[in-house]
């Protein structure tokens, strides 16, 4: 069916994008900024500067540096983190999985909540219930997530004391960050589901199905839901990539959650060039793989799509 060819093509595209981004990041860090200036105090002597420049290999031609940089990446050597003095790979592996789980949890929460909300709203468009859902979903999109997080913390942790304010460890620590992160995709998704649902319900086949005597409930679930799955999938996949690519940082900071987003924020505060390069590389690969995965699932949901 050409599927494997398509996947191969996409993997090639992924490689291309990751390579491009790596080169871009290399040039940003090596040409726009000078690591030596950042790492050494202002009063450093010229001899100190020269020593560091040589140690970092910054005195060699730029293309040679680029080659070393890329070939190190290719074999999985991301160098040492300046800030933590550990291999970058190790630092990232400490923090990345926990964030991936957190964002996955948030995605699940958003899907589980958004689909019923969208359906309920679409069932009687214009009703009071529909309005409530619309307001709620718009708020989810418009309110800054870190602020939502702070408000949830104020209510559920500070005032009610049901959940811990910050930190990690138990499942209770996951609840507030995950719910906070889920608001934005939930809002988007509820709107998409509502829109698609109204479209589908008005579509001709819905009329035919009613004429055949199918009850409305089974109609909603059998026909329309399958169609909205494809739209939801793209939405969730996109959002997952954005959250992992730094959007979740603010929320993780709010809840003192030592995840990948928090790590990105700390990396920048500490001006840790090699670590940031490695982070960009990891995110680029994960983003491309998730895009590929959504495309494949898309084809599984929608038989009209063949690659």
């Amino acid at each position: 069916m050409g599927m494997s060819k398509y996947i191969a093509q996409r993997l090639l595209f992924t490689l291309f994008v990751v390579l491009g981004i790596s080169i871009l990041i290399f040039f940003i860090t090596h040409i726009v900024g000078n690591p030596v200036d950042i790492m050494l105090p202002l009063q450093a002597t010229d001899a100190e500067r020269l020593a560091l420049t040589q140690a970092l290999g910054l005195d060699r031609p730029i293309l040679e540096q680029l080659w070393t940089f890329l070939s190190d990446f290719a074999v999985g050597d991301f160098g040492m983190s300046w800030w933590q003095n550990r291999p970058c790979m190790e630092v990232i592996m400490d923090r990345l999985p926990i964030s991936m789980w957190l964002i996955l949890l948030a995605s699940i929460i958003s899907v589980v909540c958004a689909i019923p909300l969208g359906i309920v709203a679409a069932y009687r468009p214009g009703s009071a219930l529909d309005r409530v859902v619309t307001i709620f979903s718009t708020a989810g999109i418009c309110f800054p997530p870190f602020w939502i997080g702070l408000m949830l913390m104020l209510i559920f942790a500070v005032k009610l004391g049901w959940l811990p304010t910050s930190g990690m460890g138990t499942w209770k620590h996951l609840v507030l960050p995950a719910v906070t992160i889920s608001f934005r995709p939930m809002g988007h998704l509820a709107q998409i589901v509502r829109f698609e649902m109204i479209q589908q319900l008005n579509a001709l086949y819905a009329v035919t199905a009613r004429a055949k005597g199918v009850t409305e409930m089974s109609l909603l679930f059998k026909h329309a839901l399958k169609n909205i799955m494809t739209a939801s999938l793209t939405m969730i996949g996109n959002d997952y990539c954005k959250q992992l690519g730094g959007l979740s940082a603010a929320v993780e900071v709010v809840f003192g959650f030592a995840g990948f987003g928090h790590l990105i924020s700390e990396t920048i505060e500490n001006m840790d060039f090699p670590l940031l390069q490695a982070e960009v590389f990891f995110v680029a690969i994960i983003v491309c793989l998730i895009n590929l995965l959504t495309d494949i699932l898309y084809a599984a949901f929608d038989p009209r799509i063949r690659y």
């Binding site: 491009g20 726009v32 800054p144 870190f146 602020w147 104020l154 603010a250 940031l276 983003v287």
Partner: protein, 295 residues
Amino acid sequence: MEQSKKPKKTSLLRRFRHNKPALFAGIVLIIILTMILFAPIFTNFGPAKSDLANRLTGPTTEASMAVGVTQPHFLGTDQLGRDIYTRLLYGGRVSLNVGFTVATIGGVIGVVLGMLAGYFGGWTDMIIMRMVDVWASSPTLLIALTFVMILGPGQKNLIFALLINSWTLFCRMARSQVLIIRSSAMVESGHAIGASTNRILYKHIMPNIISPMVTTYILELAHFINAEANLSFLGFGVQPPDTSWGLMIGEGRKYLTQAPWIVIFPGLMIATTVLCLNLIGNWIRDEFDPLAVKL
């Protein structure tokens, strides 16, 4: 919102009045903009004026203890006794400035590239759209953050970093509009009935291009106000003593339990502004494109 009856031949203002949420949003937005632009008229305090005697006071209608000032701290004070209400007005300048600048420059770059791609087609189109595709599947926020790290935090650098991701949506929109209009029988039909080129341009082509562009601009503006808040919250935007809504939340979050108002009000400002922009953007999209499904 109205769903069944199409508006009859009425003026723009009338149509605007008919959509209550959009009307409300428009009024609120004008109030916010006016107060921010003419901030010194609306407050007696300075944004950085600290008043340590009154630090962390809650919202109140009582006059402050400082000598010679009669205006109360309506919305309370922060950890240094600075008036929250005043800081909201001045911080709003930064937030809106960043939003407008990024959306405008990004919009111009994106529209120009999109129109080039749509108009010339072929190689130009392929290269530009490939760039957009690659951009769409790259971690642009991280790349922006890399710039912030190297250039250092600050308003200008933040604008520069946000610009990285600001042009793609405009580019896509502009390209599709150009393609639609270029191959359009609408233009030919106009010529066939003897309409002048000016009439076709101003009555048919421009409105068809402009309304989706305005919608995109407004929604992107809202998006970048949020993005600025996000990065300023993390401390990568404007630096103290200047402030923005996002930074106010970032600075105030340590006092969440004692003085939640420091955090609550800036958040409400961001939310209100972004919400109003969204309502207006959606209204424009629905109103000027009868093909869009009215819900």
